[in-house]
Amino acid sequence: MFSHIRTIWLTFLHLFKKKVTIEYPEEKVKLHPRWRGRIVLTKDPDGGERCVGCYLCAAACPVDCIALQATEDENGRRYPEFFRINFSRCIFCGFCEEACPTYAIQLIPDFEMGEYKRQNLVFEKEDLLINSQGKYPGYNFYQVAGIQAGVKGKGEGDNEEPPVDVHSLLP
């Protein structure tokens, strides 16, 4: 009997406390920048696609919901020909983001993805690509990679010697 009264009393006291629930959707949830929500593909500082089609996100995905095909432009720069995420399978674990060597794939603080038709949860590259560098501004993979892909010449990247002169015998 006492416990019942105590419960009612405590509940009554909560009437005077600060509200934890919010009036969603009129009021938006405040999410942290590292919150793992909708997946996006970001762009380089120079505006090029960051994704180089290395397939690591697809391999890391525990539900195998990422499929892509790598291709190359005339400069030898790799990019995905198509990039598809089946969000009806995605568990938002963030492994793809951790696996990504170029900061291309990022999970952003957005969970508003409800759809009436499951088919609409299949996102293609044009749905995923955003015109921003996302959480990691300033990083350009091709600037630090060894290959020449239209971003920099051989030996012009960060931390690179100029190309070896094969004809030189100097020490």
Binding site: G53, A58, D64, A70, R89, L121, V164
Partner: protein
């Protein structure tokens, strides 16, 4: 067997091996770079260090490179010693000071030996903060991509390309930490074995350029064991698919056949599978709406089959199952080989001799291990490239074995042996019509006319066995014969190689007689991947079918199986053939001149989309497995179509599916010469612990997304009832039996180097024996095969030339010629004459001449062939656009001035 102690545990190992081989054989993970089982040890990379102790009391030990230390009884070593481990990690760290940050965009990633070894040694963080060395890349042709920054200076590429494959346009340049592996200037790599660099290179310096066009990581490929269908050697390959397209071909190790390498035609000749030119739908011509569904096709075939007589044309590039199914459909007497009379006659002869068991065919491994090789008449470099590579190994290995014997050096000590050997070579006599790149390493090479090659063969046989008839009155011939006979007399494992491209029976009989006289094994290179299988069916030739058609009039419906008849006999004959037939049903995978003539065209599966068995030149039956189900579900194996039609004709169909094993069992009972062919692979119900063998690696990605654009609900995985494989990644994860290895992978070994885990020992046979079943009997001593008819010496005829085909290693394959990369390297059709003949004709090299034979004529540019005997014309054969004629006959050549008539 010596006992060695590894980390204080005793192990029995094989004598004469080095420590690295011994450790890998025992299953230890020991990192290495420069060592390769086919290239042996040079001790350059310092990666495989282990600690060796003097005796039990020695606790200090010393670091040695395990690839440079032979196995000794009672030896004590430690792999897990802290110093050894730290040393190995340090080596990787040094390599990584310059290795670029490329893995995401590197085609080697995921099957990279350097990645594996880095993880294995534990190195993970680059402490070196200074700048990385860079290089400029080179253009190496349409087959290989060059990315020199990734090089770790292991020297494997030049050791493979120069020492193993005999190429001379790849080398190492510059000095100290600037060494550069490439050509002296940009250009196409000349060796037809260059593609192996992609597998030999432990990093991504050399990668497959055709794969780059549709790049897929190894873990994402659906793979199945397959057999190359571009020549008669039957190299084992792994074919990989992704998104319904064939993506790449990798070597599949088979100790008896191709070992670690395949040729470029095999590696790059796969893209015809993805070609625009594919037949994707049944077509019934001469009606409105030619594309037909399966029901429509069966309905229309039903009326044809029940009311008309059938005549079947088989194919040397179709599987044994398909040819047999066609034979069943049309009846034994109405089945024809589908190759020219000359080819059919010669291949049947060869098959007949092999079946007697009096001579034995040599596998590629046996050719590699032979000490004397005599090539009679066949340009194996262009018709059976891997056989030529095996011959090269025989020459190199014989010299190495002699050096090892004299100096007491172990055979694996590559650098020391090479130093001792210098220019010494084993004995190769290369007797051809027009010379070959093998001449460089031949102790004896000569260009002769076919009849003279046969005479030389007889003369050698006579020197070895005086009871055989000799060739008198030709001093120079006898002298050469003596030199070759002397080598053969001392030989322990001689091999005689020949083939049919001279279209000369005497060469074959001479080769067989010679082999009998010196107890040699023989290797007869044949034109196509299943030429031997077709020859064993003992059916008459295509010309016989044309004759019969002309004789018996317009009553037959012809069923042509995967065969472009226009590539086999002259166009006028084929046109005549089709004009006489009532209906033409053609089953093929690619549109070609023959499919144009078909009233009913049925789409057949390529090697990658179906199962089948091929019989290679040595009579080895090898099974290839379906890699993927084509998007157009109506594409089926030819044998499935034909068996379906057979049941339709017999009205015996019961709605059940049909399986390759049932067909092969039937084949064994109908044609006893194929006895044993069912054992070439485990049956379709084979499972291990109730599990099938997965075609996909366990890291296969994208299963729930790759088809989601069409329908978000994933379809049920396709079932495979024809083989012990599943089309998914689920299934047995251990070592499958040797014929059923879909890919090489072991924990920690993602690259092709994982093959070591599947072998009895590095470079040895696969665990459980190498795949393939020989259809020929063991040699018996009963009736030695000896012939006695020696041809007359070749005599030049006035104004006439003996026409012979000249094949090209990359251009001459029918199916591979539909590949973009190989098309680029394929030569233009031409005719080759000796310089003297050209002068006699009064034409310049490069101008066009008119070639006339049997009432037909064609115009071809002419070139000079060095060494070609007078009176012979070599016509580029098998290329797209090259003329088809009856080889071995005489034709007229008219010189035209400026190509005008």
């Amino acid at each position: 067997m010596p006992t060695i102690y590894i980390d204080n545990k005793p192990y029995e190992v094989k004598e004469g091996k080095n420590l690295l081989e011994a450790c890998l054989t025992l299953g230890f993970d020991l990192p290495y770079f420069c060592w390769h089982p086919a290239l042996n040890s040079v001790g350059a990379c310092r990666q495989c260090a282990v600690k060796v102790y003097k005796d039990e009391a020695d606790t200090k030990g010393r670091l040695v490179m395990s690839c440079m230390e032979g196995v000794k009884d009672g030896m004590r070593l430690s792999i897990n010693d802290q110093t050894a481990k730290a040393f190995r990690e340090q080596i990787i760290e040094w390599l990584m000071t310059n290795h670029p940050h490329d893995c995401p965009v590197c085609d080697e990633g995921g099957s990279c030996h350097l990645q594996d070894m880095t993880v294995m040694t534990g190195h993970d963080y680059r402490r070196y903060t200074f700048r990385k060395r860079t290089y400029k890349n080179q253009y190496l042709g349409p087959l290989l991509h060059h990315e020199m920054n990734r090089c770790i200076q292991c020297y494997r590429c030049v050791r493979y390309y120069r020492d193993y494959a005999g190429g001379d346009d790849l080398n190492v340049f510059a000095a100290h930490n600037h060494v550069y592996f490439g050509r002296d200037k940009d250009g196409v790599l000349q060796s037809p074995f260059s593609g192996n660099l992609a597998e030999v290179c432990p990093t991504g310096v050399f990668t497959d350029k055709t794969l780059k066009e549709h790049y897929t990581r190894k873990w994402d490929l659906t793979m199945a064991p397959s057999v190359c269908n571009h020549c008669s050697v039957g190299c084992n390959i792994i074919a990989g698919e992704r998104y319904g397209e064939l993506r790449c071909i990798l070597n599949r190790y088979n100790g008896d056949v191709n070992g670690y390498f395949i040729c470029d035609r095999g590696r790059y000749g796969y893209e015809f599978v993805n070609s625009e030119n594919r037949i994707k739908q049944p077509i019934i011509r001469n009606r409105t709406g030619e594309a037909a569904s399966e029901e429509e096709l069966m309905r229309s075939m039903g009326t044809i089959l029940t009311h008309q007589k059938l005549l079947g044309i088989g194919s040397p590039r179709a599987s044994v199952e398909s040819n047999f199914a066609l034979m069943q459909l049309v009846g034994h007497d109405n089945f024809y080989q589908g190759v020219s009379e000359a080819e059919a006659y010669l291949t049947r002869k060869i098959a007949g001799w092999m079946q007697t068991g009096s001579i034995r065919s040599a596998s590629l491994k046996e050719i590699e291990q032979s000490d004397v090789v005599v090539v009679l008449g066949e340009d194996i470099w262009n018709t059976a490239p891997m056989m030529a590579l095996a011959v090269r190994q025989s020459v190199v290995k014989t010299a190495a074995a002699q050096a090892a014997q004299k100096t007491n050096l172990p055979l694996w000590h590559d650098a020391a042996i090479k130093e001792y050997v210098q220019d010494q070579k084993g004995f190769l006599a290369n007797i051809t019509v027009a010379g070959s790149p093998l001449d460089e390493i031949a102790a004896h090479q000569q260009c002769l006319a076919p009849d003279d090659i046969a005479r030389l063969g007889w003369a050698i046989a006579h020197e070895l066995d005086a009871s055989l008839p000799g060739v008198s009155n030709d001093e120079s011939l006898l002298q050469q014969a003596q030199a070759i006979a002397n080598a053969l007399k001392t030989a322990k494992n001689p091999v005689i190689i020949s083939g049919i491209t001279c279209y000369n029976e005497s060469i074959l009989t001479a080769a067989v007689t010679l082999a009998t006289a010196c107890h040699a094994k023989v290797g007869f290179a044949l034109p196509e991947c299943n030429s031997m299988g077709l020859a064993l069916m003992q059916a008459p030739s295509l010309e016989k079918a044309v004759d019969r058609m002309q004789r018996e009039g317009d009553s037959f419906t012809v069923v042509v199986l995967e065969n472009d008849l226009y590539r086999n006999i002259s166009a006028t004959l084929v046109d005549d053939f089709f004009s006489h037939c009532r209906n033409a049903v053609v089953i093929d995978s690619l549109h070609n001149a023959t499919t144009e003539k078909a009233q009913v065209l049925i789409p057949s599966a390529t090697f990658a989309e179906g199962d089948g068995t091929l019989v290679n030149y040595e009579g080895r039956a090898q099974r290839y497995f379906q890699v993927f189900v084509p998007a157009e579900g109506i594409i089926k194996e030819s044998w499935k179509w034909l068996w379906h039609l057979y049941l339709l004709k017999m009205q015996a169909g019961n709605g059940h599916d049909h399986y390759p094993n049932e067909l092969l069992e039937k084949l064994e009972s109908v044609l006893p010469q194929f006895k044993g062919i069912t054992k070439s692979s485990p049956p379709r119900h084979f499972t291990i612990h109730g599990e099938r063998i997965p075609r996909e690696p366990h890291r296969y990605s994208g299963r729930t997304a790759m088809l989601a654009d069409r329908n978000v609900s994933e379809p049920k995985p396709v079932q495979d009832n024809d083989s012990p494989f599943s089309f998914t990644m689920e299934g047995f994860k251990g070592l499958p039996p040797a014929p059923l290895i879909p890919f090489f992978w072991a924990p920690g070994w993602n690259s092709v180097q994982a093959v070591t885990k599947y072998q009895e020992e590095p470079g040895g046979s696969l665990k459980g024996g190498d795949p393939g079943i020989s259809l020929f009997k063991e040699p018996t001593q009963t009736t030695p095969l000896v012939f006695h008819e020696i041809p007359e010496a070749f005599a030049v005829r006035h104004q006439k030339w003996l026409l012979l085909p000249q094949y090209h290693v990359l251009g001459s394959g029918e199916l591979s010629s539909y590949t973009k990369a190989l098309q680029e390297l394929s030569p233009q059709p031409s005719i080759a004459l000796s310089a003297e003949d050209l002068q006699g004709l009064g034409v310049e090299e490069g101008s066009s001449v008119q070639l006339k034979i049997n009432g037909t004529s064609c115009m071809l540019p002419v070139k000079i062939q060095k060494g070609l005997p007078k009176g012979i014309a070599l016509v580029a054969a098998g290329l797209q656009g090259s003329p088809v004629m009856s080889w071995g006959e005489w034709g007229k050549i008219d010189g035209m001035t400026n190509g005008g008539e």
